[in-house]
Symmetry: D2
Subunit: 170 residues, 4 copies
C-alpha cells in the first residue's frame, strides 16, 4: 500500500478583526467556496474576517483550523473545527502564514499587513481582494520588494480567488 503526501491545499485567510456587514458577507462567501472546493481553511480564529471565513467554510462542512494567539481555545469563534491555541501572541501570525499554501487577504489592518509581509518573505502565493479596502486594497497587484518576480494577485471577488487558486494548483 502506497500513501503519498497528497495534502489538501491549505488556504489561510487573513483580515481585519472589525469589519462591516459587507466585508463579512464577502469573507463568508469566500469560506464557503473554499470548503466547497475541498480546501482546508486556516485563519487566526478570532472575530471579523476570521470568523466570517470560518463560518462560511464550517457551514459547508469544511475543516477550519484556527491558529489562536491565546493559550487556551476559549477565544476561538464558534466556527473553528480545529482550534490551535498557541499562547504565542502575535507570533501566531507567522505560523498561520507558514502553514499556508496560499494566503488570501481581505481588507486588513496592521496584523494583516504583517501577515502579507511574512507571506511574501516565505515565498507564499498571496491573493488580495482589492475591493475590500485596507492593506488588501493598497497592496493588491504590487510587489513587496524586489526579491521576487511576481506580484500579490489582485482579486475582485471570492469567485476570482477560487479561480486564481485553481490556476496555481491546476
Amino acid at each position: 500500500m502506497e500513501i503519498s503526501k497528497n495534502f489538501k491545499p491549505i488556504v489561510s485567510v487573513c483580515g481585519s478583526k472589525t469589519i462591516s456587514k459587507e466585508i463579512y458577507k464577502i469573507s463568508e462567501e469566500l469560506g464557503s467556496l473554499l470548503a466547497e472546493n475541498g480546501y482546508i481553511v486556516a485563519c487566526g480564529g478570532l472575530t471579523g474576517v476570521m470568523e466570517a471565513a470560518a463560518k462560511g467554510a464550517f457551514l459547508k462542512n469544511g475543516i477550519v483550523v484556527g491558529i489562536l494567539p491565546t493559550a487556551t481555545k476559549e477565544s476561538a469563534n464558534p466556527y473553528i473545527s480545529i482550534p490551535i491555541p498557541t499562547g504565542m501572541g502575535e507570533s501566531r501570525n507567522v505560523i498561520l502564514v507558514s502553514m499556508a499554501d496560499v494566503v488570501v487577504t481581505i481588507s486588513g489592518a496592521s496584523g494583516t499587513l504583517s501577515e502579507i509581509a511574512l507571506a511574501w518573505k516565505m515565498g507564499k502565493k498571496i491573493i488580495s481582494l482589492s475591493n475590500t479596502g485596507g492593506w488588501s486594497a493598497k497592496l493588491a497587484g504590487t510587489s513587496i520588494d524586489n526579491t521576487r518576480n511576481d506580484k500579490i494577485l489582485n482579486a475582485h471577488s471570492s469567485q476570482e480567488v477560487i479561480k486564481l487558486i485553481k490556476s496555481i494548483y491546476q
Copy 2:
C-alpha cells in the same frame, strides 16, 4: 441557527522518533483507536511514534495534525492530513501540548520529557503508556511537582488509553 463550540477533543501523541517495531505497533494501534473513537490526533509530524500514531489514525480516515519544527511541510510523514510547518524548532513542542485536550506519551526521550513537563505546567491531562519504556515508563503514575493534586495516568495498553480518555470526557 445555533453553533456551539463542540470541538472534537484533540489528543496529542508524543514519543520517541526512533522506536522498535513493537513500540511502532502499539503507537499505530493507538492512532487507529483514537480515530475510530472520533478524536483528532495531533503529533510532531516526523518519524517513530509520531509516524506510527499518524499512520494508525490516517488509515482509519482520522484527521491527523502534524505540528512540524521545520519551516516547510516536506518533513511531514506520509500520514499527516494537516501539516503545520511552524519554523520554530523545539518551540513547536509547546504548541503541540497547548492545543491538546489530552496528551498521551509513548516511550520518549528528551523531547517527550519536555512535552510532559509543559503539559503538566499547562494543566493538561497526561496519560503515559508505562509498558513502552523511556520517560513514559519513568513518570507514569507520578506527579511532576506539587502544583497539582493528580498524577500522570498510567496506561498499559492502547485500549486502556481510550478508556481513560472516555472517563475524562464522559
Copy 3:
C-alpha cells in the same frame, strides 16, 4: 536598599540585510549615536543594516543584542555582544519588536515591513529614516491603520533619530 526598574531604553534597529555603502554608513552612525547616548541596541543579528548598526554601537562599547532566527549563535555578525539564537525563524521578528522601547527602521524589504506592522500593532513608537529607501521611505510620516492617532515618525538623519527618541523619553 531600593532598586527601581530603571531599564535603559532598548532601541531595536530594523532594516534590509543587503544594503549599499551609503546605507551602511548611515546605519553605523545611528548605532554609534545610540550607544553614545546610553541606549541598548537590539537588531536581528545578521548582515546589512543589522550588522552596520551593531558595529557602530559595539565600537562605542554599547550593548548590542542580536535576536537571531537560527538555533545557534554562529550566524551572528561580529558586533553582537549578546547573541540570542531563538531557533524560531521569522518569529524572532516578533521578539525584536516586542522587546523594543523604540523601533527605528532603515530602508527595508519584507522582513522590515513585517516588523513595522507588528510594532504598530504592539503600540510601539516607530521612527523611519525616510531618506534610506525601501519601506522606511514609503511609510515614514504615515499611519498603518486607524487604531492609533499617531504616525510613524519621519527622520532624515541619525541625529534626528536621537532627537526624536529623546523627545519621547524626556
Copy 4:
C-alpha cells in the same frame, strides 16, 4: 581592525518561582559569582530563583537578561538589566535555553524540568545544584536519554558551579 566573535559566555539560571529563603540565598550567591566571573546571566525574569540569581548578578554590576513570557516588561523583577518580553508564554523557555552556553538549575518544578529536557536535546551543558531539591536533585548526575554520552553535572554549591563552568570554558 579585527573583531572576533568573543561573546562572553551566557549562563542561563533556571529554577522554581516559589522558593525558601535558603534557596534564595544560594541562587543570589550564584548570581553574584557569575557576574564577578564575567558571565552574562540570563533567566526567566520573574520571581524565586529567577529573581534571586538576577539580584546577585545585578548588585555586582553584571548584565542580567530576563526572557519574559509576557508581552510587556512590567512583569520583570527589579534586577533585570535587559528585559526581553516575548509574549510567547511557555515558549520563552526554549529561548532561555537556546541562548545559553551553560544551563544551571536550582530546585525546579515542571517549568525547570522542561528547560532541562530542552537543554539536553539542544546539546547544552547542564549543571544542577543537587542540594536544592526539586528536579535539580532528581536529575543531577544522570542522563536524560542515550543520545549523549555525558551526564547532567552535579554541583553542591555555587562555588562548584563556577569551577565546573571554568573547566568547560578553560
